[in-house]
Each structure stands twice: as structure tokens, then as C-alpha cells.
């Protein structure tokens, strides 16, 4: 975690109201992993008192460029869209804990809903670089909000679902998952909470539905890793990247918690934003 000045290199509106901005920040580009985020300070200081958290969308160590992907929803995000190339902004990062990919996993299933693309986008890059196969299921309200495939690596199998059926599968993206879950070794998701909860329900019953008998040997040799540790998350089938209103983003203010299945609130900024699906108490209504 470091406080650094990042210079805007490129900014464009990829979809109506959705922007991707590229910043020159070598420390972030080299030192961050998929799933981590940055906390960015809007320069419009008249009345804005909080930073804005953004997933690191892509990071290119060679050029030192990181990108963020966001929707304009208020004064803070609108301020970002008015930045010009060369403007420097204040970033705190990298923050949070990354996705944990099991070294044995060959097939990764990524599931993104809407802006959730920003949460899993970098994992696709990392996985392909490590020689894994990636299928990315993407859900949006309609065709005009579908993430352009030109912004994805060629190696990714990209499957789209839209709520109104204007492109790809008509319905929720979660309906596509059963087709791929036998193929997938691990799944990673980011999106609206109902989508993640539905995926968590699928993941919890996956073995039973696929008829996989639980034999004596557990994955990992029967040794139990502490809940929430990187090793435990690596063994989970589904990891999710959670979202919550955030204050400090370093774990001091306790504003951005989600309820865990153990009954203790977990900080999205510190223990998360990535959690294994069974760590979260989905029915708690937090």
C-alpha cells in the first residue's frame, strides 16, 4: 500500500456512461494482483470528502500502466471523466487481497455482472499468461451495456447474457453457469449481490448435482486451513469479489463490512474484496 501520484494517459467512454481510464503508475502496475483495488481521490474538493474505490481493471508491468473501469454515477466519477491526459491524481493502493488461483486449476470460469467486469478483468489476463483456459460469462441489462469483446484478450471464451435478450442468452448470467461448472476447476465472480448469492448457492450444491462422490481424500490432503487464509480460498470452488460503501479502504473505519458465516463482520477493504463464497453469510441481509 502506497500513496502515489498517477498520471492520466488515456481516457475513453467505452459504453454509455462507462469509462476506462489508463494511468501511469509503475508501482501499481508491478505490485498488484487481480482482485485488488485502488482508492482514488477526486480533485473536486468542493464538497467531496471521500476517495473512490476502483478495481484494478488491467495492469501492465512493462509500460507501468494501470486502468480503471467505472460508471458515472455522481459528482466524483463525473469529475474523473473531465480529466485530461497529463493530469495527475492521488491513488492509494494496491489495497485488499487478490483472487487465489489453485496452481492445479486449468480451466477458470469467470462470471461478471455489469460493472463487475472490472473486478475479474485482470484475472483473465493473469490466467492466460499462466497458460490457463478462461471462459468469461458476462451479464448485462441489454446489448448496449455489453462489454466490448475487443477489450478482452483473444484467448478468452466470452459468453454474453442479457436480461432483455437483445444479445446472447436471454436471462440472467447465472443461468449459463450450469453448462460450464463441470468443465471449470475454479470460478471467480464479481457483480451485484443477488447474482453472487445465486452463484454461491450453485457452488454449494455443485458436487452433489454433478454426482461427485466425496471420497476419503479431501483436496489438500485433509489438512484444514484457517478460514479466509489464502490457502483456504485457493481450495474453494467459487471466489467472489464483494462491493460495499467504503470510507478509509485500509481497515480503520469499519464502514465496508460484509457479514461472514462465522458471525463476525469482515472488512471488504482488508479481508476482501475477494472472499471464498462459503465465507459469506448470504442470507444475513448485510
Amino acid at each position: 500500500m502506497r500513496l502515489l501520484a498517477a498520471e492520466l494517459v488515456d481516457s475513453r467512454e467505452i459504453l454509455p456512461g462507462q469509462w476506462i481510464q489508463a494511468f501511469h503508475a509503475p508501482h501499481l502496475a508491478n505490485g498488484s494482483r487481480a482482485g485488488q483495488f485502488v482508492h482514488v481521490r477526486p480533485g473536486d474538493w468542493s464538497g467531496l470528502v471521500l476517495r473512490r474505490p476502483f478495481s484494478i481493471n488491467t495492469a501492465d508491468p512493462a509500460s507501468g500502466i494501470v486502468t480503471i473501469h467505472f460508471r458515472t454515477i455522481g459528482r466524483g466519477t463525473e469529475w474523473f471523466t473531465r480529466l485530461r491526459a497529463g493530469d495527475a491524481i492521488d491513488m492509494l493502493g494496491p489495497l485488499g487481497r487478490p483472487f487465489e488461483v489453485d496452481p492445479r486449476s486449468r480451466h477458470l470460469l469467470l462470471v461478471a455482472g455489469g460493472l463487475g467486469m472490472a473486478g475479474v478483468r485482470m484475472l483473465a489476463d493473469e490466467a492466460i499468461r499462466d497458460g490457463r483456459e478462461v471462459t468469461l460469462l458476462f451479464g448485462a441489462a441489454s446489448a448496449r451495456e455489453v462489454y466490448p469483446s475487443s477489450l478482452l484478450p483473444d484467448e478468452v471464451e466470452y459468453v454474453v447474457a442479457t436480461d432483455d435478450g437483445s444479445m446472447g442468452h436471454a436471462g440472467f448470467v447465472t443461468e449459463l453457469v450450469p453448462e460450464y461448472e463441470a468443465w471449470a476447476d475454479q470460478a471467480f465472480a464479481c457483480g451485484p449481490q443477488p447474482m453472487l448469492a445465486a452463484l454461491a448457492r450453485l457452488a454449494a450444491t455443485r458436487r452433489g448435482r454433478m454426482g461427485v462422490a466425496k471420497l476419503g481424500r479431501k483436496r489438500g490432503g485433509g489438512k484444514m486451513d484457517p478460514v479466509g487464509s489464502p490457502a483456504a480460498r485457493r481450495k474453494a470452488f467459487l471466489q467472489v469479489s464483494m462491493e460495499q460503501n467504503m470510507g478509509c479502504a485500509v481497515g480503520a473505519c469499519l464502514g465496508c463490512v460484509v457479514m461472514s458465516s462465522s458471525g463476525t463482520p469482515q472488512r471488504v477493504c482488508r479481508e476482501g474484496p475477494v472472499f471464498s463464497a462459503e465465507e459469506i453469510a448470504w442470507e444475513a441481509g448485510w
Binding site: M1, R2, L3, A5, A6, E7, H24, A25, P26, N30, R33, R41, G43, S46, G47, L48, V49, L50, R51, P61, A62, S63, G64, G76, G86, A88, I89, D90, L92, V101, P103, E126, R129, D130, G216, R217, K218, G221, G222, Q244, N245, M246, G247, C248, A249, V250, G251, A252, C253, L254, G255, C256, V257, V258, G263, T264, P265, R270, G285, W286
Partner: protein, 377 residues
């Protein structure tokens, strides 16, 4: 289940270890001078001060006595709830330079806090309703006080409770623990049903909890006032008379926000506490009023975002300020304010910041003349 044994056939060959694929760090072949390095950073001024200038700044006396031996090196504190337990910001902030740290509100038993959403931004401020999530006083003592012990910076533990007995028990457990420099009684948390707000809105109740805590500890005792009252002066006076060493003014203002759907309030707890620049005028008014009725030091808090805010609070009678919400946007602000305050003193030709205190208060009537005192009615 036994782990598979690996047989090493030749002595000089290290066993082949399976490695998890990690992020490959690709170093760029050439280094272009980045414009980001060339230009001065927007928010953090470059350290242009020379060693000589720094020595002059060091010579300015910023130390402050909050009573009962709580001597702070400078009057810039960080507010409870915005700085965790002092460890969260890690390398980003030089914790050792701060005047003091007020830690997250601590209760007798662990609390899980309120349902989410817990924070939201509002015009020039933010609403929070964390609900006093904390691991309980015993866990705080066990986990954090050994760390605090090694710090130059004083740590003031913010204590909350539901009853007088709760406050007394928490303070009893903190009393004498190395690393705990003082107590800040949070009798004004607006975000929990029984967060003690009932103590802050009634002079008698405020005095009774202060007195009860005073009896069990010799630690310096600060009491945090609530702005959610009609007149804060009798309450402040009662707390001072009950044995508090200093007052903190003020806690957050109670408020609500509405969800974007307009179908329910935004915060999970409905009510939240408003902080940030939006409440500065209110906090200034409270400090101004309280400073005229009590003789104990006042630590001001509410929307401090730059040196001008610090000077304003000092002018209305505060001896120190806490920085809160502004830390979220700029974690380095408190440390910078220390240097800026010293520079402001230097510029005015003061060797201490004390001449800045109370300059905007109405001049008090002088001590009564000894002449003819026997004729006074």
C-alpha cells in the same frame, strides 16, 4: 493421509519444489523519465524545507498539556473511528509524529456493529453508522497495547458503553495497562440504541458517568460532547465539575440519507452521524460556547481539513484539534498540519502556538479590583 515422499537421488540437486504460479514481474527494458515524477504532486507538497528550516520549526513549542500529565508533543490528534487502532495505515502515515491517537470506540464485550450500508457521502461530509463494532476491551488490551507501548505517540482509548457500570468496568480494565495514555469517554455515540447518547444529553447523567469513571482511574480523562443538544454549556460544566481533565467537542450530528430508490433510508441503521466540513460551523459554535464556561482544556473536532480550520478552532478556545473524516481522503493531512502550524507560528513570530488560542473569544471581565472590594453588594 500421508504426504507423498519425494526421493532425492543426487545430493547436489535440490528437491524440485512445486511452485505456485506467481505474478511474473516484468521489468521494462528501458526506463523513460515519467512525467509523474517530474511534476510536483498536486496534493502532497514536495518537502522543500531545508534542514535549517526544519530545525527552526522544531524550536517552536507545540506541546500541549491535556491535564493529569497527558503531555502531547503537538496539538494535532486523530479522531476516534477514523484511524482504527493506529496500525491500519501502515507505512502511509508516520504515526510517531502525531500528537495523539484516539482509537476506535471500545466496549466491554465485542460488538459486531450495525447492518450495512454503514457509510455514505453527503454534501461536504459523510454519514456513518458503524455501531461501535469492536473486539471488546480485553482483545484491545491484548492485541494493541503492546504495540502502543513502543510508540512515542500517546494513544487515548475511546470508551463506550450502555450503562455506568459498563464504562466503569472498561476503564478499570484499561487502568494501569502500559500503552494506554488516556481515556476518552464516548458518551455521545448517536448510532446505537444504547450507545450512551442518553448520557450526553443530560447534565446530571453526564456528570454521574464522569464521576464514576473518575473514581476508578487516575488516567487522564477526556469526555466527548454531543452537539445533539439544545444547550451544551450546562452539560460541559457538569462534566468538568465531575472531574474530567479535558473535553472533546464534538461528536457527530445525527442525520439520515435516503436510498437512490427513494423507497427506504440509505443506511442499514437508518440514522447515522454526520461528520466532515459540513459540521464545522456547528462544532465551532460549541467550542466557542464551552470555552467560555469551563476552565479545562478543550479538544476541538469537526471538519478539520486544513490549517485555517485548526487556527479557527484555536481562536475560539480549543487547545488541540482532532482530524477525522479528512484522513480518509488524505491520510497524510494530520502530519502535514503539524508542520504547517509550526510554520504559521514562525511566520507570526511566536515561539509557541499558545498565543493563537482563544483570540476570538469575547474578552472576559478582568479580575475584580481589590480596591473597595468590601463595598461590593
Amino acid at each position: 493421509m500421508k504426504a507423498k515422499k519425494r526421493v532425492v537421488t543426487s545430493a547436489d540437486r535440490a528437491p524440485v519444489r512445486r511452485r505456485t504460479p506467481t505474478v511474473r514481474r516484468v521489468k521494462s527494458a528501458f526506463v523513460t523519465p515519467t512525467p509523474a515524477q517530474a511534476r510536483p504532486r498536486a496534493s502532497v507538497p514536495a518537502p522543500t524545507a531545508t534542514a535549517a528550516e526544519l530545525a527552526v520549526l522544531d524550536a517552536i513549542d507545540l506541546s500541549v498539556d491535556l491535564g493529569r500529565g497527558l503531555m502531547l508533543e503537538n496539538p494535532i490528534l486523530v479522531a476516534s473511528g477514523t484511524f482504527g487502532y493506529g496500525v491500519e495505515y501502515g507505512e502511509v502515515v508516520d504515526v510517531q509524529r502525531l500528537g495523539a491517537i484516539c482509537c476506535k470506540g471500545t466496549t466491554l464485550r465485542p460488538r459486531i456493529g450495525n447492518v450495512t450500508p454503514r457509510v455514505t457521502e453527503t454534501p461536504a461530509g459523510m454519514l456513518n453508522s458503524i455501531g461501535l463494532q469492536n473486539p471488546g476491551v480485553d482483545a484491545v488490551v491484548e492485541r494493541y497495547t503492546p504495540i502502543w507501548q513502543g510508540w512515542r505517540t500517546a494513544v487515548i482509548v475511546n470508551v463506550a458503553g450502555e450503562s455506568v457500570a459498563d464504562y466503569v468496568e472498561v476503564v478499570r480494565r484499561l487502568d494501569g495497562v502500559p500503552g494506554v495514555a488516556g481515556i476518552e469517554l464516548n458518551i455521545s455515540c448517536p448510532n446505537v440504541g444504547k450507545g450512551g447518547i442518553q448520557f450526553a444529553i443530560d447534565a446530571e447523567a453526564a456528570a454521574s458517568v464522569t464521576a464514576a469513571v473518575r473514581r476508578v482511574t487516575d488516567l487522564p480523562l477526556l469526555v466527548k460532547l454531543s452537539p445533539n443538544v439544545a444547550d451544551v454549556r450546562p452539560i460541559a460544566r457538569a462534566i468538568a465539575d465531575a472531574g474530567a481533565d479535558a473535553l472533546t467537542a464534538v461528536n457527530t450530528l445525527s442525520g439520515i440519507a435516503v436510498a437512490p430508490s427513494r423507497r427506504k433510508p440509505l443506511l442499514g441503521n437508518v440514522y447515522g452521524g454526520l461528520s466532515g466540513p459540513a459540521i464545522k460551523p456547528v462544532a465551532l459554535r460549541v467550542v466557542y460556547e464551552v470555552a467560555q464556561v469551563v476552565d479545562i482544556p478543550i479538544v476541538a473536532i469537526g471538519g478539520v481539513t486544513d490549517l485555517a480550520d485548526v487556527l479557527d478552532y484555536l481562536a475560539v478556545g480549543a487547545v488541540a484539534v482532532q482530524v477525522g473524516t479528512a484522513i480518509f481522503a488524505d491520510p497524510t493531512l494530520p502530519v502535514r498540519l503539524i508542520d504547517e502550524l509550526a510554520a504559521a507560528c514562525l511566520e507570526r513570530g511566536f515561539d509557541s502556538y499558545r498565543p493563537l488560542i482563544g483570540t476570538a473569544l469575547p474578552s472576559r471581565p478582568g479580575p475584580p479590583s481589590a480596591k473597595g472590594v468590601e463595598y461590593r453588594p
